[in-house]
Symmetry: C2
Subunit: 419 residues, 2 copies
């Protein structure tokens, strides 16, 4: 059964307004730009064959994209695609760029990506954002972003927007709550944009949006994780909190209010430890960074250094470390089994601190899934439990989200100055 069986959706059938020439051209510019981006290198003939437009139409669109510096052309000819050999088109390595800023509990990561999605600047600073007023945290993050933008400028990248990745529930751009940051009802985009503009006044003020950090990490995984045909997965990111996101057939599942994926607050036990969200026994009280470090006998305030220490001790076979990871893995595996039974993804991907700790978490997680997933599709060695890609994180996902907007309508982002 597919969409047309599921009820009265779209029961009204208004005729779509006729697309005018300008709209069609903008759409076709996007088609051509995305075609080149997807294939990395392409001839005009290759583009024409792929997007189903005439060679003449494609040439005209390509000229405009070269003119606006979204594409660049190299002299070399290339005969691997349809049509006669031609000069090779690539997306420009300079010009428009997206900025991603992950503000997490104990670090800020900034990433600038170019039109191809390549990670061109990356800056991570470890600092404790707990108990600090949101405006101050956003100011710090803006300072780190300003340093990253200085590097971007040296590479002739022109940021056209930024996205903030935040560990909390975001609705309509507002952080409804981020329990581990202690934020409730914070509008983060505008203060960040102002602080950044104050630090880099030469730059036009950037539009800034806010998104859930795990959602962006999952999108980064989808876009840059080398997943091949894998299009449906449950993504978990271990940090101070435990974030999650669901991707089904290449689409992020946001839920009715944009709050889907909060696996960190799936109850593990009726009367477990009190969670920052106010409830008891949430998964992150068993498998979050603090719980893991504490169980291994490591100071939970040690943050990233503590996680590195945990990995080191596990590698050396330290019993409390291995036992803490096994117990956390069993609990993770139990909760993941429930999530897999509910949602039926093709894989579970573990990111954040779970990526370095994967060798010790994967066996208990896999064993629980093998025991508890009712479809029988999750035998222990199925490769359905994976560590996230080192190339994908929330900051890169955030930056790439901005670039997606450019790809969808390049005209809206064309440089206004003459060149």
């Amino acid at each position: 059964m597919n969409g047309n069986h599921t009820g009265h959706a779209g029961r009204r059938s208004p005729l779509e307004p006729k697309a005018d020439r300008e709209t069609v051209r903008r759409h076709n510019l996007s088609l051509v730009l995305r075609a080149v981006r997807d294939e990395v290198e392409m001839t005009r003939a290759g583009v024409a064959a792929r997007v189903g437009l005439t060679r003449a139409a494609v040439s005209s669109l390509v000229e405009q994209l070269l003119d606006s510096r979204f594409l660049s052309e190299s002299g070399k000819t290339f005969s691997g695609q349809a049509g006669r050999p031609g000069t090779v088109l690539k997306v420009a390595r300079t010009g428009v760029a997206g900025v991603g800023v992950e503000i997490n509990v104990d670090y800020v990561a900034v990433c600038v990506v170019d039109l191809a999605g390549t990670d061109r600047v990356r800056l991570v600073e470890h600092l404790d954002n707990r108990g600090t007023p949101p405006a101050q945290v956003l100011g710090r993050a803006a300072g780190i972003a300003a340093r990253a933008l200085a590097s971007a400028a040296e590479q002739e990248l022109r940021p056209v927007g930024a996205a903030l990745a935040l560990p909390g529930l975001i609705a309509a751009g507002t952080v409804r709550q981020a329990p581990n940051l202690g934020w409730i009802g914070v509008e983060a985009g505008a203060p960040f944009a102002e602080a950044l503009h104050a630090l880099r006044p030469a730059l036009p003020a950037l539009p800034v949006r806010s998104e859930n950090e795990a959602n962006l990490a999952a999108l980064a995984e989808l876009w840059f994780g080398g997943l091949g045909d894998l299009r449906s997965f449950l993504y978990l990111t271990g940090e101070i909190g435990v974030g999650g996101a669901l991707v089904l057939d290449g689409e992020l599942l946001r839920g009715a209010n944009g709050f889907a994926g909060e696996i960190g607050h799936v109850p593990v036990a009726a009367d477990g430890p009190r969670c920052r969200c106010g409830a008891r026994g949430c998964l992150e009280q068993y498998a979050g960074q603090s719980a893991l470090l504490r169980a291994a006998g490591i100071d939970e305030r040690a943050g990233a250094a503590g996680v590195a220490e945990l990995e080191l001790r596990a590698r050396e076979g330290d019993r409390p470390a291995v036992s803490a990871l096994t117990q956390a893995g069993l609990t993770l595996g139990r909760v993941l089994s429930g999530a897999v039974n509910l949602f039926d993804p093709d894989a579970v991907i573990l990111g954040g601190i779970y990526r370095p700790l994967f060798p010790w978490l994967a066996p208990p997680v896999g064993a629980e899934l093998a025991d508890r997933v009712v479809s029988g599709l999750w035998p222990g060695d199925s490769g359905r439990v994976r560590a996230s890609s080192p190339a994908a994180d929330a900051a890169r996902g955030a930056a790439a989200l901005v670039v997606q907007d450019v790809l969808a309508d390049p005209v809206a982002y064309a440089h206004r100055e003459s060149h």
Copy 2:
């Protein structure tokens, strides 16, 4: 963020083949038929206004639909819609019909619906299907369906297909497993169709498909439950097993392999009672029909009579009965909190045996959701926890699914005999 941000989906853009006149006409016949179905009564002018075709085109389409007996026309005029008053069109109350057959652990329900989705025949027989070979269960169900079809024939309904609703994992029409029936790898459609054809040889052999019972109950709720604007919900059905389904924005979420929604096998405790699925501590061992009856001190083999007895005792304030329901409600609420945190629906709908037991289950379920849902959108009295509609069940959903196919392409189901 929407679809166009989520990656490379649809990266190939092949030109769609040109629709020929015949295809367009079949599509338009479907549009017109669905328009009349949705509005119950319509004039030709009303249809034209709604579907965006000319009055002349609509008249020609309507003639064909009247001719094929998908629509009927009444003499009365009607001026409540666009255009001049005209005779009133309705979908025909005789002719094509869908057959739904729910085969559950302790009952079989058959439902025949007409083109309007109205429940025209309903037959429920209580019997224990456990430990009976699948072929025999399917034969019994065919016998019940044959009796229902005799009633349908008297009402001049012409069944064009049947759907089986089964409490198990269905992939490509095969029951991969239905733990509570004890079925593994059963192809149910063909044997059912053959048994039915043997009993009603005058009828052309019906195409029969198999679907998950909770999915069909959720679709019935969506189509017939009077949900108004509610388009995203988590549906739970209490039976011997506990089935579930997720509907997001009016679409059933099937998961990567069609196995989504198995909330009955979400783990409640690491070392709980052994479940029929092979794992331990699954929700249905705490909140399924048998567990509930046992906890209330009622013979779990009593089936539907036992559930009625439980309801009666709870109504009388019997302490073990109320306590069993409260405990089951707390466990249900805890698992539902996790599911809501993962999936973010607008409501939770409780069906099957949970519908009559709703007055005692709703308070503990609501209290757990209020405590544990991290978005804070689920205060105790929010109306987000609802009992299913008495008008909606899996058998009706199954029958309506067949009718959906007719609505999508009526020409394929036009009567072949002359009339």
